[in-house]
C-alpha cells in the first residue's frame, strides 16, 4: 500500500495563525491557534494547532509530505515597504522602524522557524497570498469552473484580484495594488467610527442598517471607482501609509466630525457613515464581479478574502442574477490562507484530484462523552447525562422556556463562525432574548443583531432565500409577515444573516431545532458564537465551563451532559448549609 500524502498548510506571523492538515486531498483537520492559546488573533507559530492536527490523524511530523506556508503580503511586498518608506519620509519614521524590525527579526526566517519550532525537515512551499485565497474558495466550491474574486483583506496590505478556476487549476488575471485597497478603506472607516481595526469591521456592517446613505458624496471623494471595478483611494485622506493611526484631520474634515472615541455613545451620524460605506462597498463589489465575469466568464462565482465575509454584499451579488450560484469560503482571512496553501500544493505539486464541495467546517478538536464526564467529575460540577433522545427533548423544552443555552458538541468549527458545535442558542421569537444575550452573556453593544439558524427545508417560509446558506454568509430579507415572529434575529431593515442547517451537516443540531419547531411551530433559533466579547470561541469543555460560569447563561450542554446554573447554585448552598449544621452556633 502506498503511503498517504499528508500536506500541512500553515499561516502565521501576521494575524490569526492557523493549521490545516490534508490527507490524500481530504481535509482531515483545521484549527486556528487562538483557540488553544486563548489569545484572540494569535499570530504566533501554530504549534498547538499542528500538534492537535497530528494527534487527530494519528501521525507524527515525519509523516508529513509537504508544508505550505501562506505567504503574507508583507513578505511579498518587502520592496514596497521600503519604497513607501522613502516616499513618505520622514513622516513614517516610527511606524516603519517597527515594521522593519519585525521583518528583520522574524519574517525572513520562516523556513528556519518551521524547521525548528515544528521539528519538520521536509520541503516548505511558499504560496502567494491571493492564490491561496482563490484556491481556498474555488477548490472547495465543487464547481467545475468559476470566476474567482478575492477582495482582501481586512487591514492587510494586499488588495483585490480576479481570475478563473477550471478543474484542478486556477489563474489570477488582474491585481490591484497597495495602497489602493477596499479592505483598508473599510478598516479606515472602522477606525474613524471608534471600533477596533482588524477585528471589528463586522460591527460596522451591523451598524449600517440603522443609518441612511447620506455620505455617498464624501465616500466617492475617498475612492475613485472605474466601471471595470478597479479603484484608487485618494491618499490625501488617509494616514495609514505613514502613521499608526488610519485617518487624520483631512478625513475628519471631509465628514465634518472628529473620530469617535472607543466606547463613546453611537450617534445617528456614525450610523449614516457606516451605511454609506456599506452601500459603497456593495457598489464596488458588484462592479468588480461584473467585470471579472466579463474577462473570465463562468456561470459560477467563487469569493474569498476578508471583504467576502461582508455577507450583505454577497446577498446582493446573488440576487443580481449574474451568477447561477456562488460559493464563499467560510474560513476567510488567514485561516482560509492556510487552507488554500495546502490545497494548491495538493493540486500543483501532487497533481491531486478535486475535492467535493465543502459541506461543513466541523474540522477541529473533538471531545468524547467519556472525556467530558471525566472532566466534569474532576471539577466536581453537578450535571446530568441524558441519552440522545432525552437530551433533544429536554434542551428544546428549555429553549422554549426562554433559557439561554451554551451548546457544545462534536468537532470545533474552522473559521470565524460558530455553526452549531460551539454556539450559544436561544429562542428567536422573544425580542428580550436579543438584549439578554447581548448584555448579560456577550457583554457587547446592544445594536448588534443575532444570526438565525433555520431548518434548510423551511428557509423559504421565513426568508427571501431559495437555497442553502450553511456558513452564515448570506443576508436576505425576512418575509414581512414573519418579522414579528422572529424579532430577535430580524435586523432593523428587516434582513437577517442566515445559517441553514440540514441533517447531513449536523445531525444533533438539526434534530434540536426540529424538536423546537415541533413544540413551537418555529424552525428558527438564535445562534451566536460561544464566547464573550474579546475572547476566542471556546475549544474545550474547560473553556466552555469557564464561559458558562462567567456569564448569565442558564444551561450548558456538553455532549450528552447538561449543567444548570440554578441547580449548581442551590447544590452549593445546600451543601454549605449541611456542612455548617455540624457545628451549630448557640
Amino acid at each position: 500500500m502506498e503511503k498517504p500524502v499528508y500536506i500541512l498548510g500553515l499561516s502565521f506571523f501576521y494575524h490569526d495563525s492557523a493549521a490545516v492538515l490534508m490527507k490524500d486531498g481530504e481535509i482531515v483537520f483545521a484549527a486556528q491557534e487562538e483557540r488553544y492559546t486563548r489569545k484572540k488573533h494569535d499570530e504566533d507559530i501554530p504549534k498547538n494547532a499542528v500538534e492537535a492536527a497530528l494527534k487527530y490523524a494519528g501521525i507524527t511530523m515525519e509523516d508529513v509530505s509537504a508544508v505550505g506556508f501562506y505567504e503574507k503580503p508583507l513578505l511579498k511586498f518587502f520592496d514596497r515597504i521600503l519604497q513607501t518608506y522613502f516616499r513618505v519620509w520622514p513622516r513614517g519614521l516610527f511606524s516603519y522602524h517597527h515594521a522593519m524590525q519585525e521583518w528583520m527579526v522574524r519574517k525572513l526566517w520562516i523556513p528556519h522557524h518551521i524547521k525548528k519550532e515544528l521539528k519538520y525537515n521536509g520541503e516548505v512551499f511558499f504560496v502567494p497570498h491571493h492564490e491561496a485565497h482563490a484556491a481556498s474558495s474555488f477548490f472547495c466550491s465543487g464547481f467545475p469552473d468559476a470566476t474567482i474574486v478575492t477582495v482582501d483583506g481586512v487591514g492587510e496590505w494586499a488588495t483585490a484580484t480576479f481570475g478563473k478556476g477550471e478543474g484542478t487549476d486556477l489563474k489570477l488575471e488582474k491585481e490591484i495594488h497597495f495602497p489602493h485597497s477596499l479592505g483598508l478603506l473599510y478598516s479606515a472607516v472602522t477606525y474613524y467610527l471608534g471600533f477596533k481595526v482588524n477585528s471589528a469591521e463586522y460591527k460596522v456592517m451591523g451598524l449600517a442598517p440603522y443609518g441612511e446613505p447620506k455620505y455617498m458624496d464624501a465616500m466617492r471623494k475617498l475612492i475613485d471607482v472605474k466601471e471595470d471595478g478597479s479603484f484608487a483611494l485618494n491618499m490625501k485622506y488617509f494616514t495609514y501609509e505613514y502613521g499608526l493611526r488610519m485617518t487624520g484631520k483631512k478625513f475628519e474634515g471631509l465628514f465634518g466630525h472628529p473620530r469617535r472615541k472607543p466606547e463613546a455613545p453611537l450617534e445617528q451620524f456614525h450610523k449614516d457613515v457606516a451605511r454609506s460605506l456599506q452601500d459603497l462597498t456593495e457598489e464596488v463589489m458588484l462592479k468588480i464581479v461584473t467585470h471579472a465575469q466579463r474577462v473570465c466568464p463562468s456561470q459560477y462565482l467563487c469569493l474569498a478574502g476578508g471583504v467576502a465575509l461582508n455577507c450583505v454584499a454577497n446577498g446582493k451579488i446573488l440576487r443580481s442574477g449574474l451568477f447561477k450560484d456562488i460559493f464563499v469560503q467560510p474560513a476567510s482571512g488567514d485561516a482560509g490562507g492556510a487552507l488554500g496553501a495546502a490545497l494548491l500544493i495538493w493540486h500543483r505539486i501532487y497533481g491531486g484530484r478535486r475535492l467535493p464541495r465543502m459541506e461543513q467546517v466541523y474540522l477541529g478538536d473533538e471531545f468524547s462523552q467519556e472525556e467530558i464526564e471525566m472532566f466534569l467529575k474532576e471539577q466536581g460540577l453537578p450535571h446530568e447525562t441524558l441519552d440522545d433522545h432525552a437530551l433533544i427533548e429536554r434542551v428544546s423544552g428549555l429553549l422554549e422556556g426562554e433559557n439561554v443555552i451554551g451548546w457544545f458538541q462534536g468537532r470545533m468549527e474552522y473559521g470565524p463562525r460558530a455553526l452549531g458545535n460551539r454556539s450559544i442558542i436561544a429562542d428567536a421569537r422573544n425580542k428580550e432574548n436579543w438584549q439578554k444575550v447581548n448584555l448579560k452573556i456577550k457583554f457587547r453593544e446592544s445594536f448588534r443583531p443575532f444570526a438565525p439558524t433555520v431548518l434548510e427545508e423551511r428557509v423559504g417560509e421565513y426568508f427571501d432565500l431559495d437555497r442553502e446558506s450553511p456558513y452564515m454568509l448570506l443576508v436576505a430579507d425576512v418575509h414581512p409577515d414573519k418579522r414579528e415572529k422572529i424579532p430577535a434575529v430580524t435586523h432593523v431593515d428587516g434582513s437577517a444573516r442566515i445559517q441553514t442547517i440540514n441533517r447531513e451537516q449536523n445531525q444533533r443540531y438539526y434534530d434540536l431545532i426540529k424538536a423546537f419547531a415541533q413544540r413551537t411551530g418555529c424552525p428558527v433559533i438564535i445562534n451566536t458564537s460561544f464566547n464573550v466579547r474579546g475572547e476566542p470561541i471556546v475549544r474545550s469543555p474547560q473553556d466552555a465551563v469557564n464561559c458558562f460560569l462567567h456569564t448569565h447563561m442558564d444551561y450548558l450542554v456538553l455532549g450528552n451532559s447538561l449543567l444548570s446554573k440554578e441547580t449548581m447554585k442551590s447544590t452549593s448552598q445546600e451543601s454549605q448549609k449541611a456542612y455548617l449544621k455540624q457545628f451549630t452556633l448557640d
Binding site: R533, H550, H552, K569, L585
Partner: protein, 340 residues
C-alpha cells in the same frame, strides 16, 4: 436585601459569636442586639477589644472613609472589570484557581473590585468585609447594578469578624493586615474562618521591596509636596490628579503600616500547620504545570532557603517595589486540625 438570607448561615454576631436572625431592616442575635442593614450593607462592626488598638483602628477607618481606593471610574460593566482584574495576572490566576461552587470571603475588600470580579462567576458565594462604609457602598452599587446576587458586602472588624468559623473555601486578605496593630493575631483570626482543606491568601507589604518607598517617604516628609514626582505614579500622565492624590495618601500618608518578610509569613503558616502553596511574585522556581504566563496558586510550590528568599525579595525592590511592594502568599489549611 432578600439575597442576604441565603448567606445568613455564614454569619455570626461579632460580639458573642452567636447566630444571627433577620428582623425587618436589621440582623439580631439571641440577646436582641441589633445590627442595622443600611442600603443593603449589614453593619456588623464592633470595637477591637483593647482600647489602644481600637484607637488605631478608628484612625484607619477615618482614613479609608475619606480615601475610597480604588474607584470604579470607567468600570461600567462586568467585562471592563474583568479585563482590569485580569491585567494584573494575580486576579486572573485567583479566578482560575477558585472553584465554581466555592464560598469566598474577602476581608478588607475596600471598594470590592476583587470581590465583584470573583463574583462574576454566579455559582460562587462571595462575601466582602471592610470597615469603610464609603468603600463598601461603591462596591455594592456595582453588584446591585449588574445583579450579582451572589455577592454580599458587610461592614466588620478583622479582630471581631461577623463570619462563622470554618465556612470559607477561600479567604483573601490582601493589603490589609499591615495596617493593623497585630498582623499575626489578625492572620490567626482569619484562618479560623477557613474550612479544613481550604485556602488562605495573604497579601502584605514586603520589607525589602518597600525600602525605596520608605526612603521616598522620608524625603517627602522633609520636602513636603515639592518632590512628589520622584514617585513613578505621580509622574504618570494617564492618571488623573484625584487618583494620584489617593495613591499618594495610601502609600505615604497612611496612619499605620508595618512591613513583613517572606520568612515571617512562612513562620505564621508553619506555626498554624498551614501548608505553603504559592507566592506572587514567586519565592522559588515555578512548577512544571505552569506554562508561559500561567500560575497555579493552589498547587504546592517549592520553598527556597531563607537566603534564597532574601535574594528574591531584594530583586522585588525593582519590580513590585514601584507598585507598593505587596507580595502574596497562599497557604492551605490542614484537613484534620492537628492538636498543638
Amino acid at each position: 436585601m432578600d439575597t442576604l438570607d441565603t448567606v445568613l448561615p455564614l454569619l455570626r454576631c461579632p460580639a458573642t459569636g452567636a447566630a444571627l436572625m433577620r428582623q425587618a431592616g436589621a440582623l439580631v442575635n439571641k440577646e436582641g442586639t441589633q445590627y442595622p442593614i443600611i442600603e443593603d450593607i449589614a453593619q456588623l462592626l464592633t470595637p477591637t477589644k483593647s482600647v489602644k488598638e481600637e484607637e488605631a483602628r478608628q484612625r484607619m477607618q477615618r482614613f479609608y472613609e475619606t480615601f475610597t481606593f480604588p474607584g470604579y471610574d470607567g468600570i461600567d460593566d462586568p467585562s471592563v472589570l474583568s479585563e482590569k482584574a485580569k491585567r494584573s495576572g494575580f486576579g486572573l490566576w485567583l479566578d482560575q484557581a477558585i472553584p465554581p461552587l466555592a464560598t469566598v470571603v474577602e476581608v478588607g475588600c475596600g471598594t470590592g473590585q476583587m470581590t465583584n470580579f470573583l463574583g462574576l462567576v454566579s455559582t460562587r458565594t462571595v462575601l466582602g468585609v471592610d470597615m469603610s462604609i464609603a468603600s463598601l457602598t461603591l462596591g455594592n452599587r456595582f453588584a446591585t447594578q449588574h445583579r450579582l446576587t451572589n455577592v454580599h458586602f458587610l461592614q466588620g472588624n478583622i479582630f471581631a469578624l461577623p463570619i462563622r468559623e470554618e465556612c470559607a473555601d477561600v479567604l483573601i486578605c490582601s493589603g490589609v493586615l499591615h495596617h493593623t496593630p497585630d498582623p499575626q493575631g489578625g492572620y490567626r483570626e482569619l484562618l479560623k474562618r477557613v474550612k479544613p482543606g481550604g485556602y488562605i491568601v495573604i497579601g502584605l507589604y514586603n520589607t525589602y521591596a518597600r525600602i525605596p518607598l520608605g526612603l521616598r517617604k522620608m524625603l517627602f516628609h522633609v520636602t513636603g509636596k515639592a518632590l512628589r514626582k520622584v514617585d513613578y505614579h505621580m509622574r504618570r500622565r494617564d492618571v488623573d490628579a484625584r487618583k494620584k492624590e489617593i495613591w499618594f495618601a495610601d502609600q505615604y500618608r497612611n496612619p499605620h503600616e508595618s512591613w513583613h518578610s517572606v520568612d515571617e509569613v512562612l513562620r505564621w503558616f508553619d506555626e498554624t500547620h498551614v501548608k505553603f502553596m504559592s507566592g506572587v511574585p514567586a519565592i522559588a522556581q515555578d512548577v512544571p504545570e505552569e506554562k508561559d504566563g500561567q500560575k497555579k496558586l493552589f498547587m504546592p510550590h517549592p520553598r527556597a532557603t531563607p537566603i534564597g528568599h532574601i535574594l528574591h525579595q531584594l530583586s522585588w525592590m525593582f519590580s513590585i517595589g514601584r507598585e507598593g511592594g505587596l507580595f502574596v502568599l497562599v497557604g492551605q489549611k490542614p484537613l484534620l486540625q492537628e492538636k498543638s
